[in-house]
């Protein structure tokens, strides 16, 4: 097998792309300078009362920017489409875009459906009015689909943990020395220090992030909301105490906390299990109070609903915190948990401790945001109206205050998933929690950085992957903020 070059037989596109990129950069610079130096384009009022902008020099710079930008986008699309059609004969880029085919298809379907029905989809649909939001959403969904399809083994070319002899630190596009029948014949993004496939590891790493980050953020939000609403609504001693606790956790440098919590020794003492048992009770409390406060006037409906929902939630909770029949199982003593035949899933100690500490670090910030919002909203008239109606405090908190605080909370949720992704990367970077051979981005960056002065390819793909996912989440949050402000 021949080693693959970056673009293979579509290399004719490269000079065109270079020209388009250069044009884009020049037009951005001209656009910025133009916005400072050039006069505003003249507005003229037409006879029918409408206003039309003139085509001054500014309009020209904008037009240049738009054309060069669309040229770049079109070229990028051409690379992808040609890559899907030609596969490895279009070089590494072609092969990669062919591997990502399920992701492209899902993205196209998702975007087509969303844009077609965007008027009926509320805030989500409005996202497709803002270009920034769309770019962010596209980047995020790209990695979400990559994670899911990667977990289904659709995208990866090799097993991310298997070492192939002779592929140590090989540059991108190197063919395998002796590929078996049906095995992918190249390491698309090269091999790492232990001769594993960088591309497959990056794709598998997306799955770890997609699994943990949104879920951990959601748990942090549940904890923060369940504690922040009463703190803001009641105020007084409760508020002082909870705020002190939150500030206490926030005063810890995150990395020190991780170094104290996420070690094999701490896992052996069972501290993460205790923390999990405490932290994961909050979602159950939240759901229980949420439903009870809404339906307590209709006991016939409320009681079966609560039994059903809380039963399932408790079952999930118990399967989450107990593994192998125990909630806590250390050398000294153990606490019985759910018997193994009822246990739905086991979470390995390493993952659990990562999950718990990420929730633990994030929830005080959420608490502070929710508390601030509750303090602000509780002075509104509709809250006073609900109080006069005789609604209970929890109904007011969960069904009057919370829905009205959703805008900032949704935006912060997106930002916080990004922050959680960064935290997960930090954990991996310091080699905490996840097993050392795990393909998560932080660990891969940490491994790759040691040889960075000679071999770039093991460290850069996960670095850019993490960068683009977090950037996507930030842009998505920006788009959501813009659109929710228009309401």
């Amino acid at each position: 097998m021949e080693p693959l070059s970056w673009t293979g037989s579509i290399a004719i596109l490269n000079p065109i792309l270079m020209i388009a990129l250069a044009a884009l950069i020049v037009s951005i610079v001209v656009w910025i300078i133009g916005s400072i130096v050039l006069p505003e384009s003249p507005m003229s009022v037409n006879i029918d009362g409408t206003i039309s902008g003139g085509n001054g020099l500014r309009g020209l710079t904008q037009k240049a920017l738009r054309y060069s930008f669309s040229a770049c986008v079109a070229l990028a699309l051409a690379y992808i489409v040609l890559g899907i059609l030609m596969g490895t004969s279009a070089g590494i880029i072609g092969a990669i875009s062919q591997q990502f085919l399920p992701v492209w298809l899902s993205l196209i379907i998702l975007f087509a459906m969303s844009i077609a029905f965007k008027r009926r989809l509320g805030l989500y649909g409005k996202l497709f009015d803002s270009p920034i939001g769309m770019i962010g959403f596209g980047l995020v969904m790209f990695w979400v689909f990559t994670g899911i399809f990667g977990a289904l083994d659709l995208i990866i070319t090799h097993d991310p943990l298997v070492q192939v002899s002779g592929m140590k630190n090989k540059v991108p596009g190197t063919p395998l020395p002796s590929p078996d029948e049906g095995e992918y014949a190249w390491y698309l993004l090269g091999g790492d220090n232990l001769a594993r496939d960088v591309f497959s590891r990056m794709v598998k790493g997306a799955w770890i992030v997609v699994q943990i980050a949104p879920l951990a953020t959601m748990f942090a939000f549940m904890v923060g909301i369940t504690l922040g609403l009463p703190a803001g609504y009641y105020g007084g001693r409760l508020d002082t105490f909870l705020s002190f606790l939150a500030n206490l956790i926030l005063a810890f440098p995150v990395i020190l906390l991780f170094y104290l919590l996420v070690t094999p020794e701490i896992v052996a003492t069972g501290v993460p299990n205790y923390m999990a048992a405490v932290l994961f009770i909050f979602p159950i409390l939240f759901i229980g109070v949420l439903l009870n406060s809404r339906y307590y006037t209709r006991p016939n409906f409320r009681t079966p609903l609560l039994i059903g929902v809380l039963g399932i939630a408790l079952w999930l909770y118990l399967s989450l915190i107990s593994s192998g029949g125990y909630v806590i199982n250390t050398d000294d003593y153990s606490i019985w948990g759910l018997p193994t035949y009822l246990d739905l899933f086991d979470i390995p100690g390493g993952i659990l401790v990562v999950f718990v500490s990420v929730v633990f670090v994030n929830s005080p910030t959420v608490f502070r945001i929710v508390r601030g919002l509750a303090l602000d909203i509780k002075t509104r008239d509709y809250v006073a109206a609900a109080q006069t109606r005789g609604e209970g405090p929890w109904y007011i908190m969960l069904w009057e205050i919370l829905p009205n605080a959703r805008g900032p909370l949704i935006v912060d949720f997106c930002l916080r998933i990004g922050y959680t992704t960064i935290l997960l990367g930090t954990l991996g970077f310091f080699g905490l929690g996840l097993p050392p051979e795990s393909p998560d981005w932080g660990s891969t960056i940490n491994e790759g950085r040691k040889l960075l002065s000679i071999y770039l390819h093991p460290a850069l793909p996960p670095a850019f992957a993490l960068l683009s996912l977090v950037l996507g989440l930030n842009l998505l949050a920006d788009g959501l903020r813009e659109e929710s402000l228009k309401d």
């Binding site: 104290l260 990367g425 930090t426 002065s453």
Partner: protein, 348 residues
């Protein structure tokens, strides 16, 4: 105001006590002590040997007692072994029963003895903090003015071309954690593959002889991540000020745009970023740990990693005291500064 500061100091003290106790508790859990015994004594010690080793050095007393000893409110633990060696919490290698003080805690000004570096914790922390302080100084020198400049330029004409490009730039920097930007910078500017080799990939030499070549990349890496956030806050505050009534009045009066920005808007727009910059310090501390590990610069963050990795209890405690102190003092400064800068808020 005096009462306010006094109360804040009370809360600070309470927070510091709680936090050090948490650190103390976590580092004194038995598996951690076992690890300490094995790294300090012998990797192949049996369980009984580990227990004797710990017992002889006072590690198996109740946690509260040990915490009291560390604080200096309880007398230190001492024990003379059968073969005459004198051990205890206050002893140093080579010290005898007569030269060992009875109390040795933080209150006595004794921060303890580092088991990793075999040195007084006080002097280690001082030296490492000096290195990190130097790094932080240059980070602030680079970060604060550029962040404010970017924020003000972006915020003075909302929605303009300049605003959009600068905002995109600041979003990109906030989305790039230090371990990503550091790796990318090292790859581009120092590796032999790209071939630019403008800077050095490690800052080890920068501790003795900092030059632009070996010190700029770590500074830039930390500064960039914090910069985007401050710039966005400055931009938000600037756009808010620019839509205020008095700016419109000034504009209608015929004041030039430059004068409006410089004389009318800037002062009010810089109140909010001041708080943000102060609250950014705890984040910088994180960045320092990552960057010092990445660039092998032996400062405070590097000491933290070493202490935590080897369960060096007393060094870790001193480090957490310092970092908690930094966090709480910056919070205090930001609160007080906010009151002084903003005449509309007065603490009653």
């Amino acid at each position: 105001m005096g009462l306010f500061i006094l109360r804040r100091f009370g809360v600070m003290l309470l927070t510091a006590l709680c936090l050090t106790f948490v650190v103390f508790f976590l580092t004194n859990l038995y598996p951690n002590l076992e690890k300490l015994a094995k790294t300090q004594g012998n990797q192949r010690m049996s369980d009984e040997q580990v227990e004797t080793w710990l017992d002889n050095r006072g590690y198996l007393q109740p946690t509260l007692v040990k915490y009291g000893q560390w604080l200096g409110v309880l007398p230190g633990y001492t024990k003379t072994l059968d073969d005459g060696t004198f051990l205890g919490t206050c002893t140093r290698p080579g010290s005898t029963e007569e030269t060992t003080p009875r109390y040795c805690g933080v209150l006595q000004g004794d921060w303890g003895y580092s088991t990793v570096f075999k040195d007084e914790v006080g002097s280690i922390v001082g030296k490492r903090l000096g290195n990190t302080g130097y790094l932080m100084f240059w980070v602030l020198v680079l970060m604060v003015p550029s962040a404010l400049l970017v924020g003000v330029l972006a915020g003075m004409r909302e929605g303009s071309a300049l605003d959009r490009s600068l905002s995109t730039f600041s979003i990109i920097t906030t989305a790039t954690p230090e371990y990503v930007s550091g790796v990318i910078f090292i790859a581009i500017f120092t590796s032999s593959t790209v071939g630019l080799k403008w800077f050095k990939g490690t800052a080890t030499q920068a501790m003795d002889n900092p030059t632009f070549e070996n010190f700029f990349l770590p500074v830039l890496t930390i500064a960039l991540y914090g910069m985007g956030y401050i710039a966005r806050m400055t931009r938000a505050s600037m756009t808010e000020v620019m839509t205020a009534q008095y700016i419109r009045t000034a504009r209608l009066k015929g004041v030039s745009f430059g004068n409006i920005v410089m004389k009318h808007a800037l002062r009010n727009a810089l109140i909010a970023p001041f708080t943000v910059i102060m609250l950014q310090f705890p984040w910088l501390l994180n960045g320092v740990v990552i960057v010092e590990t990445l660039f092998n610069y032996k400062g405070f963050g590097w000491a933290l990693v070493q202490a935590a990795g080897n369960n060096d209890i007393q060094l870790l405690l001193a480090i957490s005291v310092v970092s908690v102190f930094v966090v709480l003092v910056t919070q205090l400064i930001s609160d007080i500064g906010y009151v002084y800068l903003n005449p509309r808020i007065r603490i009653s």
